[in-house]
Subunit: 343 residues, 2 copies
Amino acid sequence: MNLKTLSEKLGLSQTTVSRALNGYPEVSTATRLRVEEAARQYNYRPNSRAKGLATGRSMVIGQIIPTSIQHEMVNPVFGDFVSGATQALAGHGYDMMISRVLDEDEGKVYRELHARGAVDGVILQGPLVEDPRIPLLREIGLPFIVHGRSTGEAGPYNWVDVNNRRSFQRATRFLLDLGHRRIGLLNGHETMDFARRRRAGYTEALAGAGIAPDPALMASDEMTESFGFARTRDMLALAAPPTAILASSMLAAIGVRRAIQEAGLRMGRDVSVITHDDDLSYLKNGEDVPIFTATRSSVRRAGIILAEKLVALIANPAAAPVTHMLEAELVVGRSTGPVPVKG
Amino acid sequence: MNLKTLSEKLGLSQTTVSRALNGYPEVSTATRLRVEEAARQYNYRPNSRAKGLATGRSMVIGQIIPTSIQHEMVNPVFGDFVSGATQALAGHGYDMMISRVLDEDEGKVYRELHARGAVDGVILQGPLVEDPRIPLLREIGLPFIVHGRSTGEAGPYNWVDVNNRRSFQRATRFLLDLGHRRIGLLNGHETMDFARRRRAGYTEALAGAGIAPDPALMASDEMTESFGFARTRDMLALAAPPTAILASSMLAAIGVRRAIQEAGLRMGRDVSVITHDDDLSYLKNGEDVPIFTATRSSVRRAGIILAEKLVALIANPAAAPVTHMLEAELVVGRSTGPVPVKG
DNA sequence: ATTCCAAGTCAAAGCGCTTTGAAACCCGAG
DNA sequence: CTCGGGTTTCAAAGCGCTTTGACTTGGAAT
């Protein structure tokens, strides 16, 4: 069913039918009702491509899958983020399109998406320190919003980010207050902007307590279970092992827990652990009492917020740059406790 | 840059330029080269919507996010699957579009996607036993392929699935061969078709050893870490606890491991564990030697295969139904061992 | 020279929608 | 009656592409 046949059935012109369906005022209530009823009856939906061609907008938001550094590690956070974003977009009549490319081609893909008119805007994931994609997108003139920030980017751009620096500062202070002095940091790849900020928060808190960061207690890599396990095992084998560990993700923290247990120690008593928790729907931090003390910020909610902002941005391109800082909450679970007394 | 201005710059008609770019034979090699060069120079890309409108195809594949039973639990497998699928689709010039809806509306969304001409085909995730979406899609006439199968569906349909029955049968036999007699099963929701088949494989293997399945050793729910933990804890507290446990996902298995350790037991010695492993990029089963003995099948690879098949299907709608069975491999890790001797 | 044919090129129609500018209608005021 | 003005409807152009059917060529065959 298309506009033409629908309007023929109604004995009206395409103009009138189109207007009736799109809520224009120059249509009498009687005809509007009649048209709407017919549209429902024949299950008519305007063809997306034709509509897009006529209006010049695609009503699609693009998102490039973060295939990160070296290995194509698909971010576990992706599913929840997309779920939130698509939900929000749907409310505004937008669809979400996923692309995936080798890292080198990413610029080419943005260019192409724009040249083809395939998307009205994009969400940029996993920003690096001095991320080249930001100037690129600006140059292309494709509306975009960044999930995170990029240190070293001079110009204005739209972003929504968690206050990673502050949340890791708070977490570190929390451990310091419990008497911990040797605190390990298992961070994400430090080419990623968020990881850089988390480390800053960590070292700032340490500095506040007069503690110099110890390189032997700091590791950074992809935040897998194995990474959490291996680095924790190494740290616990040190002459002066840490009494607490700060992990950058639940998955890494699970590895940390495994290493602690395999060393014959108990988490929360012998070694305290705090992790960042993206509040993933499929990886809950315990049922009632959280397993891990954690800095928590829902990535799903971030997806919703980013989508809303981007839609608003597209509607009003002249608007001032949009920025939005999310504060993570510090939830206390069973993985932290006072520093164990010696001997 | 659009076709019109490009052809004007070249002093050719739109017809010729279009044909040159699309590889039609009625264009001399000289002009073709000239056109291609100019297209590159001006970074020309045909507008997706205009092209789609003219050809009647959208070159987009749809995929509905599996918001499952009750809670909107986003499948952890989603990221890897989509990553594989989009990669394969890109190779054929297709894009992937994600939609997400409340469960009740799912039929409506498929109808709408089709009516709007937004997609040329869809991938159906997480099929249930007697899944109503299959007859619905058939009725709508939208090309589709199912990731999994649906017991009780009489008519033919296209699917790619792991041989879940056989892989759980093999895993169970493996445990039986090690002398285990009380084997727990932590299954997914048994409205899901895959879970039903896994249980069938499990009970068949038990039956082959003359063992009646014990309801106290079988649980099914969403496959979270907490689920794995709680049910394992319960089972280990039984008068006759299991000596081995079969888990339906890595995440659940991680919960199983935690429960085993908290009970003061050792995995692989006191309690054996086998899990299904989707080979997720961010949740590797150990580095060199697998942590868990597992039935392994890459969901990323499944994504690639499904995408390829769907594209072929759209190209040739008259083709016979496509089905493809993937066999999981049984990889032996450190989580299994002979049944512990009593006393 | 003329005819014919293949190779190369083109103008124009059409895909399904929105939107502009014009026309038709209706009703009360003059 | 006629006119004016708001209300309602319409025909047609345009969005950027593909594709049909026709029109030029240049050269080989007659």
